[in-house]
């Protein structure tokens, strides 16, 4: 069974995204195929050189960089949202697969879960 976890909320505003990340790590820990998709304002998770000290948090960039080590198979991002929020490609994390059609990607997974 394959699972796609979708994060459609910007980082730092609530804990929903971090808790969605815990879900994908948990699947990977149980050897279940899992991937992440960032859509809409959620693509702001993928910015490089984030500094979260101003809001008293740890940067989510480190959490994300651990995803491949934990066995998360792929990290996808909605291409249109990336071009809107991060037109400078050098400000995006490496190793992200851009997708033109979120709908088509979702149909490839048995189970699609949105961050709460």
């Amino acid at each position: 069974m394959t699972t796609l976890i979708v994060i459609d909320q910007a980082p730092y505003g609530s804990w929903a995204g971090r808790e969605a990340l815990d879900m994908v790590f948990s699947l990977a820990a149980f050897d279940q195929p899992a991937a992440l998709l960032f859509t809409g304002v959620g693509v702001n998770w993928l910015r490089t050189a984030q500094s979260a000290k101003g809001v008293g948090q740890k940067t989510v960039e480190k959490n994300l960089s651990a995803a491949p080590l934990f066995g998360v198979e792929k990290i996808f991002a909605e291409q249109e949202a990336c071009e809107r929020f991060m037109p400078d490609t050098s400000s995006r994390l490496a190793g992200i697969d851009l997708v033109a059609s979120v709908k088509n990607l979702m149909t490839q997974y048995d189970h699609v879960v949105f961050a709460g």
Binding site: A16, M23, L27, H111
Partner: protein, 136 residues
């Protein structure tokens, strides 16, 4: 051919802050009435507030935690609050109270506290996993 399905319900919206617990309860009652099975209810994120024993709404308002407790007990359905979500939000059972040396515990019966592995198990064993979120 049988059309009976098994479900895991995941509630991530808190009572009173969202309609998620209410909508999930309506679904759960309809599922049982329709002859389907609920394998487990899993509370995650803000949804863990549903398992608090300290909610005391005015008597003329719906008491969602009480209604859920009664439904779960009557139908013998396991219900789990995610431990990480629960600890962040001040929901603890006696074991976690002792572990973190907290002044009280407040987990409502028959809810239990466990890890995300319970959710993973649900995704593997149930025919359907339904999510009830609190925000758009």
């Amino acid at each position: 051919m049988s059309t009976t399905l098994s479900y895991t319900l995941v509630i991530t919206g808190a009572p009173w802050a969202s309609q998620a617990p209410q909508t999930a309860l309506a679904f759960a009652r309809a599922a049982i009435a329709g002859g389907h099975r609920l394998d487990r209810v899993f509370l995650y994120g803000e949804g863990v507030h549903l398992a608090s024993s300290l909610c005391a709404p005015p008597s003329d308002e719906p008491h969602w935690p009480q209604q859920w407790s009664d439904f779960l007990s009557d139908n013998q359905i396991p219900a789990v609050a995610c431990v990480a979500s629960a600890l962040r939000r001040g929901l603890v059972d006696e074991r976690e109270q002792n572990r973190y040396q907290l002044p009280a515990h407040n987990l409502r019966n028959p809810f239990e506290i466990a890890g995300l592995g319970e959710w993973v198990d649900g995704t593997l064993k149930s025919d359907r996993v339904m999510y009830f979120h609190g925000s758009a």
